[in-house]
């Protein structure tokens, strides 16, 4: 991700300056430095291996043909104690405190990336740490959401929400938020970050007052929806009978999203991370400079690639759903199949998110603690981890791959549930698997490319 890499670029240069040159040099080459060049594997073979692993795992999954085994695996669960009312109240109150102090310190604390609490809380604690917890543990956002706490405290006008809009406003809002993140120095500029958080809070509270908090956070708010979807991947699931422990991803095959709009949201969730990484590659720098050379405004180039890429992703997924209907000789509609198979993509998005953020979270957690203890006069050089071991790059690649493997399995289990014939189920997965193989290779290529500042917008 541009932001993560920007944070990490800062990290590496700091580390070099403070005589951690060895570790930093080993790490600043990014993932490829740690894994690929040391083995001297050509890029095409490295990418093909990733794609091959996904394709092979599809074939291996197809060997599991015992329906009862698949169902038992996915039905396995244990009950967990539900936290009491007092604990959830206290947690929510604390979250409101974190939100308000983030905005406040964003404006008044030192105007430096790694010495400002707002930057560290938003990007390290929240986007890196909390978001990872939504798919690794369970989605605690409905309990914590500080903006919802503010909205709940206000009266509601309860104006009717236009039903025909469905989830589209959240798709647009997600695309807009990530767009702001890509084209502005949101990870470097505490004042700008605090402004964006404040505007988001005001818009959200305002919307919740107009159509009612429940409606707003279910339909319109992109963050609540994103975390809810990530939460479907997690082992801890909330049910009517309290919290349940399940196998990771086990809830996905029974999770059908409800329409084209929600399919578009899942695809957008996957696409935005890809775009964020893609604009920081050398290939994009060349393309953008070339197109700008003939007189196209840079913003238009970025926006065109953004919307065009999203439509391309959506088109590829819809094509896979249509192909599944044809090959499985099924009368299920392509829209229905897209709704059933979309949740498997969430496992990929989760793996991708973890690969991109875990490094920054580990490196900067000492910084967060140091700055949080004295936000107004933080240490001049806040501490951070000296570096991560060389094998950490391999671990990041493993997260990307594990996400894809889980997605292949989820799609297999979903197909078993959707089609009565087991060979039908296998055949329905050919196009889906092909799309996943191509997507794996694309994302591995992006994470293995050295960071190139996006032209025209890099700060």
């Amino acid at each position: 991700m541009a932001r993560r890499r920007r944070l990490r670029a800062t990290l590496s240069s700091l580390a070099v300056a403070t005589a951690f040159a060895g570790t930093a040099a080993a790490h600043s080459g990014s993932l490829r430095g740690a894994t690929q060049e040391s083995l001297a594997v050509p890029t095409w073979l490295f990418l093909l291996t990733g794609g091959g692993a996904v394709g092979a795992s599809f074939l291996l999954a197809s060997f599991v043909t015992d329906r009862r085994f698949v169902e038992q695996l996915h039905a396995w669960h244990r009950s967990l104690p539900t936290p009491g009312r007092f604990v959830t109240r206290a947690a929510r109150l604390a979250a409101v405190g974190v939100l308000l102090s983030t905005v406040a310190f964003g404006f008044v604390a030192p105007d430096e990336q790694l010495r400002n609490l707002a930057i560290l809380v938003v990007w390290v604690a929240w986007w890196g740490g909390f978001v990872a917890s939504t798919y690794l543990l369970g989605n605690a956002w409905p309990a914590l959401n500080p903006v919802r706490a503010l909205a709940d405290a206000l009266p509601s006008l309860d104006r009717p929400y236009p039903e025909r809009l469905g989830a589209w406003p959240s798709v647009a809002a997600l695309l807009a938020l990530v767009w702001i993140e890509v084209v502005s120095p949101l990870a470097d500029d505490p004042r700008l970050l605090a402004t964006v958080v404040l505007v988001y809070t005001l818009v959200t509270v305002g919307g919740a007052v107009v159509v009612g908090a429940e409606r707003w956070f279910t339909s319109v708010d992109p963050l609540s929806r994103a975390f809810r979807y990530y939460g479907h991947v997690a082992p801890i699931q909330r049910t009517d009978d309290g919290l349940r422990l399940r196998l990771p991803g086990a809830a996905l095959p029974e999770t059908a999203v409800s329409g084209r709009d929600e399919v578009a949201f899942v695809v957008a969730l996957l696409f935005v991370t890809t775009y964020d990484g893609f604009v920081a590659t050398g290939l994009w720098a060349t393309i953008a400079r070339t197109v700008a050379g003939v007189g196209v405004p840079p913003t238009l180039i970025y926006l065109g690639a953004y919307l065009g890429g999203f439509v391309l992703f959506l088109g590829a997924f819809r094509w896979a759903a249509r192909d599944a209907r044809r090959r499985a000789e099924s009368y299920l509609t392509p829209e229905y199949l897209a709704r059933r198979f979309a949740p498997s993509l969430l496992a990929i998005a989760a793996g991708y998110h973890l690969a991109h953020n875990l490094g920054s979270v580990l490196l900067l957690s000492p910084t967060l603690v140091a700055v949080a203890t004295s936000p107004l006069s933080p240490p001049l050089n806040p501490p951070q981890l000296a570096g991560l071991p060389g094998w950490f790059g391999g671990l990041e690649l493993a997260f990307v791959l594990v996400g894809h493997l889980l997605a292949v399995w989820v799609a297999h289990a979903t197909a078993y549930d959707a089609f009565p014939g087991r060979l039908q189920a296998v055949r329905s997965q050919y196009a889906v698997t092909l799309v996943m193989v191509l997507y794996t290779m694309t994302s591995l290529w992006i994470v293995s490319e050295p960071y190139v500042p996006p032209p025209f917008i890099a700060t």
């Binding site: 083995l39 594997v41 093909l48 091959g52 043909t65 000789e329 299920l332 959707a418 009565p420 087991r422």
Partner: protein, 90 residues
């Protein structure tokens, strides 16, 4: 689970085998037979259950054939990569 609550669309000129319990259409009779056994195990007649068990066993033979092909492809992938790494990875 979700085997009966589905959206379907039968092409105008296509024949459909429709489930008498839930109305879901299928392109082939064997899919309908399998569906009845999987989605309505408590409602089917003895004859329908026998038909389901026969279809499930027949399907197993097709699956065994598919497995042989899949195994072959896996072997090709494995040795393909073994060869590629031996030649191109220094």
């Amino acid at each position: 689970m979700t085997r009966t609550d589905v959206d379907t669309d039968v092409p105008a000129d296509a024949e459909a085998h429709v489930c008498s319990y839930c109305g879901r259409p299928f392109a082939r009779e064997k899919y309908l037979v399998l569906h009845r056994g999987l989605a309505h195990p408590d409602d089917v007649s003895d004859g329908e259950r026998d038909a389901y068990e026969r279809a499930y066993a027949e399907e197993q033979a097709d699956i065994d054939r598919f497995r042989i092909v899949a195994l072959g492809v896996l072997v090709v992938i494995y040795f393909g990569f073994l060869f590629a790494y031996a030649v191109f990875a220094a």
